[in-house]
Amino acid sequence: MFSRDNWKEIFETIQKNKLRTFLSGFTVALGILIFVVLFGMGNGLVNTFNEFFGEDATNVLYVFPGRTTVPYKGYKSNRTIEFDNSDLVDINKNFAMFVEYSTPRISRGGLVKYKNESNNYTTRAVGPAHQYAEKTIMMKGRFINEQDIKNKTKYVVIGRLVEQDLFGNNNAVGEYIDVAGSAFMVIGVFQDDGGDNEERLIYMPYTTRQLIEKNNDKIDQIIVAFKPEIGYAGAMALDLSLNRFFKEKKYISPDDQNGVFIRNVADQLKQNQQFARVLQIIVALVAFGTIIAGIIGISNIMVFVVKERTKELGIRKALGATPKSVIGSILLESVFITTISGFFGMLLGIFILNSMGEKLKDYFITNPYIDITMAISATLVLILFGAIAGYIPAKRAAEIKPIEALRDE
């Protein structure tokens, strides 16, 4: 069936029936091309999505103090709640089972100067664990450590863009900068995947900030990271018990929704993941539809091809072609054409996806790609169905008596 002579016969048939070859090849190539591009763009959409939501640690709860709205235990409503260092200690003590790390965060704005350069930056006074919560990546030097917290050192860690703004191409580490009137030594420079704003931040020890602000012990917010192994349910439970703990400690009515806020990244993440999954399902459905359309297209063409060749097949049978050789030549021809054009369409699609890169970022499509296994399987599926779709009419044609086929004008 696969002798050189058979192939020669098939090549000749292909060469001399260009329209037919073009039609079936075009259908398959287009089907695969659209599939690859659509699927790739869908992945690009998911990429954008992950980029938006995936830059920070996902096992994190943000706890913010609020303002009461219900009078409770002799306290009037509209009381401002404040966190202080004792809350940090309490969290680590009471929730040690669940908590991986925790860090306070005190955010302030301020003018920052170095020699003749100056600019306004947000300064975050934090603990060492903050590095993990924000997935801060150190480029040079080091992040704030426990020693800095204890000694209330006047050290800062600056973002990549802060260094760029103030120091140009010079190394900032070891230099002194002026932050809102006090001199700080730069001990490190970091980068962050979360975007430009994240790289225009300045970190300092929270104890240093408290020292500057009249040696108080106030904290803006607390970031609590739970152990990943407690899972989603555990995170939700921790969320609830933290809420209860703070309400009790700060004398907030259990019914007051505004005394303390907890932003649960795990909960958001779950929603986001669900959204991403829905996106992926939609993309998969569209791609599946394209493949179905491709299969229907190639089936139609195969029916047409066999119909068109009925008389020729009759002649061949009168000259001694067996049904097997008739079916074989039709199938080999169709599989050959669909394979070549299918892989051509696939490669073209992959090329298009690769050349897109970040160009469609405005349309929320980042780095569209398709898993090569997925692309090849889709192509193989189309080839397989093309062959099945060709087999049925080919078998029927092979069974027609040559005399009937010859009568077919």
Binding site: D5, K8, E312, R316, G320, P323, S325
Partner: protein, 233 residues
């Protein structure tokens, strides 16, 4: 060479059936040139199709070169056709995207003859029908007579036991018809057995034997003195 006994054939036309051949007894010796004549509807083409294994018989027996032809599946029929029979059709039935030579070589392809040998043989038979220099032309570039000669060369290429021609001159003018008949006579002179279905008396007269069919039975079967076609060419 051909032995037919009590052959019946009917076609189903919806609820009623049409009895086309009603008991044909007929035999052909090697080297004969037989014309099967009859008006349209007499069953002559049906007979030829059954002889050519393009159609199956309902009743009776058919023996070709000592081989009983019955209960053939398509594969077996195809092999027998390839081995025993050459066909010439009224409408030539050349494959339109293949050159004259490729058309002639096609039955050899199904005999699994090697490519080189196929081409040599095809050229040899094209030479015999006087169309060697047209070997690379497509059927659309040939005249009707030339097409039929290519078809005859194709039928001969497989070196069949019997050549079956269904109205071989039906689509040709009389001069071309005589040319084709001249060719057929020459092939017969070389010892080949040939059956021709025709309704033209002048063509029938160029054979050696005429079988008259009417309403599905043989009404006349006579040997005649052959009129040579060469005198008209």
């Amino acid at each position: 060479m051909i032995e037919i006994k009590d052959l019946h054939k009917s076609y189903k036309m919806g609820s009623n059936s049409l009895h086309v051949l009603k008991g044909i007894n007929f035999s052909v010796e090697e080297g004969e040139l037989v014309a099967i004549m009859g008006s349209s509807g007499s069953g002559k083409s049906t007979l030829l199709n059954i002889l050519g294994m393009l159609d199956v018989l309902d009743e009776g027996s058919y023996t070709l070169d000592g081989v009983p032809i019955k209960d053939l599946n398509e594969t077996k029929a195809a092999q027998y056709r390839n081995k025993f029979l050459g066909f010439v059709f009224q409408s030539f039935n050349l494959i339109n995207y293949k050159s004259a030579m490729e058309n002639v070589a096609l039955p050899l392809y199904y005999q699994k003859v090697g490519r080189k040998e196929r081409q040599e043989k095809a050229l040899k038979y094209l030479e015999q029908v006087g169309l060697r220099e047209w070997a690379d032309h497509l059927p659309s570039e040939l005249s009707g007579g030339q097409k039929q000669r290519v078809a005859i060369a194709r039928a001969m290429a497989a070196e069949p036991k019997v050549l079956l021609a269904d109205e071989p001159t039906g689509a040709l003018d009389s001069t071309t018809s005589y040319e084709v008949m001249d060719l057929i006579q020459k092939i017969n002179d070389a010892g080949n057995t040939i059956l021709i279905v025709t309704h033209e008396p002048d063509i029938a007269d160029m054979c050696k034997r005429i079988v008259h069919l009417k309403d599905g039975v043989i009404v006349e079967d006579k040997k005649i003195t052959q009129v040579r076609a060469s005198q008209y060419v």
